[in-house]
């Protein structure tokens, strides 16, 4: 499966971790774990630089995360202007890895604050494309 359908605009079509998209379509946010040193990687990697292992296994993330920092962009690179303004965020997953994504348009900008609970969710885009976004965590999820 091509990785080229990932994100609003993709700059990479071929990667050893293309199955990430297949899992995303099944509703799963997957990281990779090195079978040798057990280090967890998100975004997923096919190769572990710590022990030079290529023996990696997929590991599903719970999706639970906390907001580390964010910005609301009012200018955008080519292809993203129609979505302005949008909030780009970095969050810390409960498994320890970090995730970089947009905050869902469902969340009001004035509600966004560092430390808030978020959840990574797959998001289907037009033209068969797919990505993930950060939604407000609901009480039922904990």
């Amino acid at each position: 499966m091509s990785f080229g359908k990932f994100g609003k605009i993709s700059y990479v079509s071929q990667t050893k971790v293309a199955d990430f998209v297949k899992y995303l379509e099944e509703g799963k946010i997957m990281a990779t774990r090195c079978s040798g040193c057990e280090k967890l990687y998100f975004p997923p990697r096919a190769d572990c630089p710590d022990d030079l292992s290529t023996d990696m296994t997929w590991k599903e993330l719970s999706g639970k995360c906390k907001l580390l920092t964010y910005t609301t962009a009012h200018f955008a690179p080519t292809g993203f202007q129609d979505d302005l303004p949008y909030t780009i965020a970095l969050a810390q997953c409960e498994e320890g890895v970090k995730v970089y994504a947009l905050v869902s348009k469902d969340v009001n900008e004035d509600e966004i604050h560092i430390g808030m609970d978020l959840r990574i969710m797959p998001l289907r885009l037009p033209n068969g494309r797919i990505t993930y976004e950060l939604k407000k965590a609901k009480a039922s999820m904990r």
Binding site: F3, F6, G7, K8, I9, S10, Y11, V12, T15, F42, P43, L68, T69, Y70, T71, T72, A73, H74, F75, A76, P77, T78, G79, F80, D83, Y86, I88, L90, V97, K98, V99, Y100, A101, L102, I114, T131
Partner: protein
């Protein structure tokens, strides 16, 4: 054997220079040679620095070397985005120190107007990790804005403190005839400007520019024949950090600044308090505040207070970016580091006219590529 900087030159930085890249480089090269006893044919090697995504010319080193009359001496191209010419100086230092070459010219340039605004916008999006972060529509201001937001939360840094960095920049821009924006701005101007990427507003951000710079380096023996006022390279530090935001451990400072600074201070056998005048990479106001902290001009979290107390003005504890910095000069990527070197060299030679820091003996150049991706710190001595 010590390595000296014997000549520095720069073109005016402008929105659109109206000349070709070879001509732009010639202007800076000629400026660097104007007051020193050195002919172009005596230069043993050249290092040409720019960010290639703005160049139409493939492999510009050959073109520039030919136009400056440096053929058949060896030339090469060096790139670390916004810190390309600091990287060039580091390579030049290695050439001279190793005795491979006695005299080296480092020429940095960027003609950002070479390509259309639409093409610039397209390239902007590809400065991040193209597989995992560019698909979310990020760009440079957003990256630094995320650091600003985290810094404000952790240390209580305010938008007013960020704005005060630009107010200082504007004040000194009036004294720099080569700056692109030569105008004072008020705190109110800064705070009411349109938002680019919250909390950063227009005056928190530097602007694209065209320009070139030149740094001529020489061995100790040659340096003394070329000029009466050589400036010595006392310390060099360089480090990198992850391109990805997800790979960063620190969201309130640039670890590559800290590491490069440590190396440079150690090599120069000095501490932060010994620096008399500094040029730091103020691509955004938050970047200058983080640089104060990461270079040890104040404690972590103390950057906002340092500018609020005007300690980085001339007469303060440590004058920083008294040429207006990137925020007013403009930021022609590949030329920026060379322009910073020029400012510090002129300061240490006592030739900085209205912005002269009295008795400056030790200067520092801090030049960052990307969002804390490539860190370069160089210490110069009179």
């Amino acid at each position: 054997m010590s390595v000296a900087i014997v000549g520095v030159g720069q073109t005016p930085f402008s929105r659109s220079c109206g000349v070709s890249i070879r001509e732009l480089c010639f202007e800076a090269f000629r400026d660097a040679l104007k007051d020193i006893n050195l002919a172009p044919k005596e230069i043993d090697a050249s290092i040409i620095c720019s960010a290639p995504e703005y160049d139409k010319q493939r492999s510009p080193a050959g073109l520039i070397s030919e136009y400056l009359g440096l053929t058949p001496k060896p030339t090469l191209y060096a790139e670390s985005i916004c810190s390309s010419s600091s990287t060039g100086v580091k390579i030049g230092y290695s050439f001279v120190k190793s005795r491979l070459h006695d005299i080296v010219a480092v020429i940095g340039f960027q003609k950002m107007s070479e390509i259309s605004s639409a093409e610039v916008q397209e390239r902007m999006g590809r400065g991040a990790d193209i597989q995992w972060e560019s698909p979310f529509g990020t760009m440079m201001p957003a990256g630094y804005a995320m650091f600003a937001r985290a810094h404000m939360k952790k240390y209580g840094t305010t938008e007013e403190q960020l704005a005060k960095v630009k107010v200082k920049s504007g004040k000194y821009s009036l004294l720099n005839p080569l700056a692109m924006f030569r105008r004072a701005v008020t705190l109110e101007d800064c705070l009411k400007a349109r938002v680019i990427a919250s909390p950063l507003k227009m005056f928190d951000c530097c602007a694209n520019a065209d320009g070139a710079s030149c740094v001529i380096m020489a061995s100790e023996k040659k340096a003394k024949k070329i000029t009466d006022t050589p400036v010595w390279v006392a310390g060099i530090g360089a480090a990198s950090d992850t391109l990805s935001t997800t790979g960063r451990a620190n969201l309130t400072g640039l670890d590559c600044s800290v590491e490069a600074g440590k190396q440079a201070y150690k090599m120069a056998r000095i501490e932060a308090k010994d620096v008399d005048v500094a040029e730091v990479h103020d691509c955004f106001t938050i970047a200058e505040i983080m640089a104060y902290e990461n270079l040890g001009f104040c404690k972590l979290g103390g950057g906002g207070k340092l500018i609020e107390e005007s300690q980085t003005y001339i007469g303060g504890k440590i004058p920083v970016n008294v040429d207006g910095g990137l925020l007013s000069k403009g930021h022609p990527i590949g030329a920026t580091g060379g322009s910073q070197f020029r400012t510090i060299v002129l300061q240490l030679q006592g030739k900085a006219s209205k912005t002269q820091v009295d008795g400056a003996e030790v200067g520092l150049v801090h030049n960052i590529g990307g969002i804390g991706l490539y860190g370069n710190v160089t210490i110069l001595r009179r």
